[in-house]
Amino acid sequence: MNKFAYSALVAFVSSLLTLITIVWVAPTVAETEGKVREISLDELASHNTADSCWKEIEGLVYDVTDFIDRHPTPASVMTEWCGRPSTEGWVDKGNGRPHSAGAEALLDDFLVGYLAGADVDLDALNQPATGSDTASAERSAAVADAGTGRYRDGSYYAEAEPGSRGTFGIIEITVKGNRIVGVYFDELSRDDDGTVNYRKSADMNYAERWRRVSGGVTQLSSYPAYEQMLIEQGVPEGVDAISGATGAYDAFVGLATEALSAAR
């Protein structure tokens, strides 16, 4: 039995090393045709089961059927979004956090098209991918284009679900001449009547507690800094996290992405 288990361990380690080598040597298996097509809301809605599950995320439609089994949650978490615009479930996994960059790289592989009426850069999407790095680079380039040139004028508002303390993030973004010119981000709470009775940006006690934990930064400067970065960079992806305020960063980027999806 010792020998058998030992041999199994040796075989396991060897095949794992083989696997790593293969991935290292050959990062790309095959290239699918880079053609994407327009998909109507009705067509999207017809793929609403675990057997054929399509989702719209930020204007693009993905066939994620094969991924349901691989997704690290019970299948129902994924299947509840089948056939629906799912940006909300994408930027907030249910715990206030967006999906990771690794997940985003995987998502590219399931692309089938774009939602009718969505403003996406077809040229960039139809480029045949030569590797996951370039694919996601092109994708973020497409997003960046959209960010600087394709926002419609107006003001856009988004609000998060209340968290465990009852507070919820809000954002308001104003676009003028295709550029973001104003951003307001805060965390609020409402009383039973729906009246806003709390504004985190004005809560100096909270700031003191935060300062003790972070050693410096609090909401007092991190919120305006994130707002400023969004104005300068034009896209949520351009905002950098500030050390000591990464929770606020996640909330900010999630809300900004949601608000701006309405601006496209």
């Binding site: 010792n2 288990a5 030992y6 199994a8 293969i22 991935v23 790309t28 298996v29 690794g102 590797g131």
Partner: protein, 430 residues
């Protein structure tokens, strides 16, 4: 079905629960996609592997008398090892299958499924659990040469954090985590009992009344209970922990020793041969010393053929359970006859022989034949036949050094005895 004990059934049922729950939740859909089967199979062997590891942990419970359900502690330990190793192989297969299933993520090859970013902590907990398993199994694989019993025991404690990490890996990903909570609690509870509670609650206090020097390297230690006396059967063994600060080695370490006294004896007698540091130190333990005893364990004289007479083959310190059995025969009221072959190197190495011959004089159903290897050579079928003509119709009990067992068991089978009529016990690694 003699090899199947009722305890095995309990383990089997416990083990089937999580596997059935998995199958009920994830009954495979017919699919021609090999990756689907890799994924499904990978998860299934993961469930099986964790189940086996949890059962192996549960088997470390070591409660006196409970081991009888499993045919004695040595057999329970054998199952523990088998189940543990199978669990380990299951876990390897789990990572291997899922590794191959996740490498092709659509059109790119990626290791992100196997080695995700740090925030995906359940996966990393799984890796860490596997790494810990390799570390505590390393001495078993003899990576670092021959293993030291005490060090191996301490290292084996890493199985507890490995199990906890394996549960951390599984609980967030499982569709029905409740079964894992329950089984995890049982298994961790078993380890806590064994390592934390039983050293205080599971042992009884004894005092050394006499140390009889049988040979220069064999003693019989006589113990008087300071609390409740021990109820045991002939052939059982106990774990002995000396509480003797001046002892040259092995103070506060537990080691198994076979009981040599009959159950009716008010004193507990243990036959101890100088085989290592701890047993060497006990050769000189002073009367009045305090000893702690945990047990009894084992089911040496279990019967598969209750109607048959018995053949006992003992050699070396393996004679001890037969000394206990022979002493017990003095007040035995059954009609079973026993023939004991005492195999030793020469007359000097035959400790207890005088007493055993004395018992044979008093108890007509007990016979003894001494065999000296250096004079008579290895035991042969003809030798057994000459001294015990009906040995093929008897139920056989063997205890002795590994070389003796390797010689005798094939010999007995050659002579026509069936495997389940042969009971043998090597206290190799308890």
């Amino acid at each position: 079905m003699r090899w199947f004990k009722s305890g095995d059934g309990i383990l089997l049922i416990l083990g089937l629960v999580p596997v059935s729950i998995f199958l009920m939740n994830h009954w495979p859909a017919p699919s021609a996609d090999p990756l689907y089967w890799f994924r499904w199979g990978g998860r299934l062997v993961g469930v099986v592997g964790l189940t086996l590891l949890l059962l192996a942990a549960l088997m470390s419970l070591r409660l006196p008398r409970l081991d009888i359900l499993f045919g004695g502690l040595p057999r329970l330990w054998t199952i523990h090892r088998l189940v543990g190793f199978l669990g380990f192989v299951g876990v390897l297969l789990h990572a291997w299958l899922l590794g191959f299933a996740t490498v092709t993520q659509g059109r790119t090859l990626s290791l992100a499924g196997l080695f995700p970013e740090a925030s995906n902590w359940p996966i990393w907990a799984g890796w860490l659990a596997l790494a810990l398993m390799v570390v505590f199994l390393a001495p078993t694989f003899q990576f670092f040469g021959r293993l030291n019993y005490q060090r191996w025991k301490r290292l084996h404690l890493l199985s507890a954090p490995a199990l906890i990490l394996a549960l951390v890996h599984t609980l967030p990903l499982a569709a029905q985590p409740m079964v894992w909570w329950l089984m995890g609690a049982l298994s961790i509870g078993a380890i806590i009992w064994r390592k934390v509670l039983s050293p205080h609650l599971g042992r009884s206090a004894w005092e050394v009344t006499e140390v009889q020097q049988l040979k220069h390297d064999v003693v019989e230690i006589c113990l008087k209970p300071l609390g409740k006396p021990l109820r045991y059967m002939a052939g059982q063994f106990v774990y002995l922990t000396p509480k003797v600060p001046g002892l040259s080695a092995g103070n506060r370490e537990e080691h198994p020793y076979t009981i040599a006294s009959a159950p009716s004896d008010p004193l507990l007698r243990l036959g101890i041969k100088d085989l290592g540091d701890a047993s060497h130190a006990l050769q000189r333990v002073a009367p009045g010393s305090r000893i702690e005893i945990e047990g009894p364990y084992g089911d040496f004289y279990q019967r598969h053929y209750p109607g048959r007479n018995q053949l006992w083959l003992g050699g070396g310190i393996g004679i001890t359970p037969f000394v206990s059995g022979a002493r017990a025969m003095l007040d035995d009221e059954t009609d079973t006859s026993v023939h004991l072959f005492y195999l030793s190197q020469d007359e000097y190495r035959s400790y207890y022989l005088d007493e055993l011959q004395d018992i044979a004089g008093k108890q007509p159903r007990f016979d003894i034949t001494a065999h000296h290897f250096s004079v008579q050579g290895a035991v042969t079928e003809a030798f057994l036949e000459t001294h015990c003509p009906d040995f093929r119709e008897r139920e056989v009990y063997l205890c002795g050094p590994p070389g003796m067992m390797r010689h005798l068991i094939p010999l007995l089978k050659q002579a026509g005895l069936s495997g389940d009529a042969i009971h043998s016990e090597v206290f190799d690694f308890l």
